[in-house]
């Protein structure tokens, strides 16, 4: 582990390093910066939707631009890089190797992210994070849309390079004395999510190229005026991005597999079921993409297949939840900040999953489709599970990365405010959807129920905003002036953990 504040180095040494912990640190700082930026955009959106009529955003085009960059930033520039951050830190240590298999490729994969982020933020496209044709092909204004496409292209290449690196590091560089069956579950999480990435992402890479050539008028794959089919884009998109849900969530579950046993002071209940559930999720992730497209006129048989494929994820998710609860059972749990986030994460994971079962039932999907129910559902999943797991792990890794402790009280305040805010925002959005409010709208009529619920949602969003400001202040202050951490046992849990946190792979 690097103790940056104990042994400070010039920043350029870290920036141009290919060492796995340095690259991990760069990934972490970048991803957190984008998290705060994307979150700030969400607050602007919620300010606009606080009440009917124009509030702070001048027109619908600007709203759509903010909306697009919010989603793109948080998915591609926060969640994915934050997972890579901790993977870089821990995977080589967990498989007992000196670094990632290809250190230079690792650094290149990271350095693709800032230019891609710059393209997305400087362009500020307006066709939402999925860029559906026909709008994206025919009407979306350039160069913003083209910059978005190039940005996503670069991020896709970065993800694939990073994933290849994880797969090779785990499969080829793992210590011979460490069988896969004994490998920590977090490393398993990286192996499965990397395999999904390598299979899923190239499809979207192809779709982006086709979209670009369509925009240039050189082809008409998705342009109905040239005989193309816009629905084909949706299939290509969701073939990548439903598995992407698992690419995002599997590392977060892996983080929880680190946190629960450590703070419960007992081993994970079942290593085997955790591995099985990861592999099952990786497989069924590819059997459910078209549940996003029930309303596109698919046949009854197709919809049935994808409904069953979607429901197949339930047993695997339940295995993880059971594993976490069974690990806590009989433990002596120290409720420090990381495990509070992890416990909150499973509670919200379950709620998001229950909403997902409703969405996946095709008759019910027609009443929730394109309504705020869907917004509530996927945000509950992305924020309630993935962000909660990730933020919990940021707290968990903080002493190992900086050599200092974060402020425990403010960490808990951060959790409580975030949990309350998340419930206020995303549970209410489910109900708002049932009341018929469509998603992706800039303004809405003054229907009393809609107005009341939008006010609740916006207040919840501001609570989350305050909690994130506390988080940022805690990170900055504690990394500079926090108490020095006991590096053998920063959380006062006792015992030796099952892999050496003190491992320091020599810098190179």
């Amino acid at each position: 582990m690097v103790l940056e504040l104990h042994k400070p180095r010039p920043i350029w040494q870290i920036m141009f390093s290919t060492h796995h912990t340095d690259v991990g640190l760069l990934y972490l700082i970048t991803s957190l910066a984008f998290m705060f930026m994307g979150g700030a955009l969400a607050l602007i959106l919620r300010l606009e939707l606080f009440a009917p009529g124009t509030q702070v955003i001048a027109d619908s085009m600007t709203y759509n631009r903010i909306f697009t960059v919010h989603g793109t930033t948080l998915i591609f520039l926060f969640i994915l890089p934050s997972a890579s951050a901790f993977g870089n830190y821990l995977v080589p240590i967990m498989v007992r190797y000196k670094d990632m298999a290809y250190p230079k490729l690792n650094a290149i994969a990271f350095w693709m992210i800032p230019p891609a982020g710059a393209l997305i933020w400087l362009g500020f496209a307006d066709f939402t994070w999925y860029a559906y044709p026909t709008y994206s092909v025919i009407s979306a204004p350039g160069p913003a849309a083209d910059m978005w496409i190039f940005g996503l292209k670069i991020l896709g290449v970065s993800s694939i390079l990073g994933s290849i690196n994880f797969i090779v590091t785990i499969m080829k560089c793992k210590h011979p004395d460490l069988p896969l069956s004994k490998m920590p579950l977090l490393a398993w999480a990286y192996l499965t999510s990397s395999l999904i990435t390598v299979v899923a992402v190239p499809t979207f890479a192809a779709a982006l190229l086709m979209l670009l050539t369509d925009r240039l008028g050189a082809s008409g794959f998705f342009n109905p005026l040239m005989g193309g089919d816009p629905i084909a884009y949706q299939h290509l998109f969701w073939f990548t991005f439903h598995p992407e849900v698992y690419i995002l969530v599997i590392p977060a579950i892996g983080f929880m597999y680190e946190i629960f046993p450590r703070f419960s002071r007992k081993p994970i209940f079942s290593h085997g079921s955790g591995v099985t559930a990861f592999v099952l999720l990786a497989l069924v992730g590819f059997a459910s993409w078209a549940h996003h497209m029930y309303a596109t006129g698919m046949s009854f048989t197709e919809k049935t297949v994808f409904m069953v494929g979607t429901l197949a994820a339930v047993p695997a998710s339940a295995m993880h939840t059971f594993n976490f609860l069974a690990t806590m059972w009989g433990g002596r749990i120290k409720f420090a900040t990381p495990i509070m986030w992890a416990v909150g994460g499973i509670a919200l994971f379950f709620s998001a999953g229950a909403g997902g079962v409703v969405n996946s039932a095709m008759p019910l999907d027609f009443i929730t489709h394109d309504s705020y129910w869907v917004v509530g559902h996927f945000h509950l999943f992305v924020m309630g599970t993935i962000l909660f797991g990730t933020v919990g792990f940021v707290y968990y890794m903080f002493p190992y990365i900086t050599g200092r402790m974060y402020n425990e009280m403010w960490g808990k305040v951060h959790f409580i405010l975030s949990f309350v805010g998340t419930v206020m925002v995303f549970f209410t959005q489910h109900i708002l959807g049932l009341f018929g409010m469509p998603r992706r709208i800039y303004d809405y009529p003054p229907i009393p129920e809609w107005v009341q619920m939008n006010i609740i949602i916006s207040i919840g969003a501001f609570i989350i905003g305050i909690s994130m400001a506390i988080f940022l202040a805690n990170l900055i202050y504690s990394s500079a002036k926090g108490k020095p951490a006991d590096m053998d046992d920063p959380f006062g849990l006792g015992g030796k953990y099952y892999y050496p946190y003190q491992a320091k792979n020599p810098h190179h």
């Binding site: 002071r265 081993p267 027609f366």
Partner: protein, 87 residues
């Protein structure tokens, strides 16, 4: 024993499959009036009852686990793994 289990499974499937087919084909019965809105909302509420029931059990379990096994609980004891110092 295996044969009995196998036979039981086959018979079970033979009972379940027509029921599923009947349920799925309900909307296509000729001459039958079906208010899809009522049916769909009915299905929604039934699923919500299931979700809330299971949710209550899971959430209740989480709350109980958190309270019962917190280290500050008077009944909390060191786990067997703490003696060896490895978990």
């Amino acid at each position: 024993m295996k044969a009995i289990i196998g036979l039981g499974m086959v018979l079970g499937l033979l009972m379940i499959l027509p029921a599923i087919q009947y349920a799925l084909a309900a909307g296509d019965e000729p001459g039958e009036y079906l208010d899809r809105r009522v049916e769909i909302w009915g299905l929604f509420y039934r699923l919500m009852i299931v979700a809330f029931t299971v949710g209550t059990v899971v959430s209740g379990m989480i709350v109980w686990l958190v309270l019962r096994f917190r280290e500050s609980n008077p009944k909390a004891n060191p786990t067997s793994y703490e003696e060896s110092g490895t978990w």
